[in-house]
């Protein structure tokens, strides 16, 4: 199995078929197309997305339903096309797509980006960060609204 060097996890080996492929990158990281989902059992349910192209680039994510059990997808037609789904309906979280909220961990508190979830087609592993302008979700949804800070 191929191996990569990473800043956070040292050297890790991976199965090439488990790579998430973002054909257009992510906003702010348009040139970063391939990410490896990394799960450390002691950090469950957190899932890290480690860039294969930049050892220092790693997003910290949570399954969206951990953040908001009522979360509803509002993926644009353009993003549905990238994912390979028909434009007339939203894919089902869990059975058709994996849906992850990217966390921002700041001294003032941890927030989850619900405006733009990472959505992965579970059959093809094609992925997008689906910015959903028609949703009312925030890009800085407080994870612990009672005011506790993570660092």
């Amino acid at each position: 199995m191929p191996e990569i060097e990473t800043k956070n996890f040292g050297s890790i080996s991976y199965a090439p078929e488990s790579i998430f492929e973002f054909p257009d990158g992510l906003p702010g990281f348009e040139e970063r197309r391939r990410f490896l989902p990394v799960q450390n059992p002691s950090a469950a349910p957190i899932l890290f997305l480690q860039s294969l192209e930049d050892p220092g680039l790693c997003f910290t994510t949570l399954p969206i339903w951990v953040v908001d059990p009522q979360y509803r997808l509002r993926i644009t037609e353009q993003d549905l096309e990238i994912l390979g789904f028909p434009a007339n309906r939203q894919p089902r979280i869990g059975s058709e797509v994996l849906c992850l909220a990217v966390l921002s961990i700041r001294p003032s508190g941890t927030t989850a980006n619900l405006l733009a979830p990472v959505v992965v087609n579970l059959k093809t592993y094609k992925a997008v960060q689906a910015v959903s302008p028609e949703s009312d979700y925030s890009h800085q949804h407080p994870l612990f609204p009672e005011g506790a800070a993570a660092c």
Binding site: K7, N8, F9, I12, Y14, A15, S18, F20, L26, P27, G28, F29, L36, P37, V38, Q39, N40, P41, S42, A43, A44, P45, I46, L47, F48, G56, L57, C58, F59, T60, L62, P63, I64, V66, I93, G94, L98, C99, L100, V102, L103, S104, I105, R106, T110, N113, L115, A116, V120, Y125, Q129, V131, P133, H139, Q140, L143, F144, A148, A150, C151
Partner: protein, 97 residues
């Protein structure tokens, strides 16, 4: 801010090489066509906001910060079901969702 009224199909010019066409007016949304030089960045404001948020989110937390985050996430951490393998880092297709 300059405010202009335009009908469907009408155009606004910005400078010499940017053209904005009101392509379709719906009940709550308008479709706007934009013709601009390749080097001009054209994105919805939300996409720029998400890009800035991604840059703030692009580093994994230190182990200490991660522990605090996990303890907030799972106050009853020790009752969380044990993972199914030996505890080193493994990569996963993400079937947890």
């Amino acid at each position: 801010m300059l405010i202009m009224s335009r009908r469907q199909g009408e155009t606004i010019l910005i400078g010499n090489d940017i053209e904005i066409v009101i392509a379709h007016i719906g009940r709550s949304r308008v479709k706007v066509g934009i013709r601009a030089p390749r080097e001009t960045m054209v994105v919805a404001q939300e996409v720029k906001m998400v890009g800035e948020e991604n840059r703030a989110a692009a580093q994994a937390p230190s182990p200490a910060v991660l522990q605090i985050l996990l303890s907030q996430l799972l106050p009853e951490a020790h009752t969380f079901p044990a993972a199914d393998d030996e505890g080193d880092v493994r990569q996963d297709a993400g079937d947890k969702n």
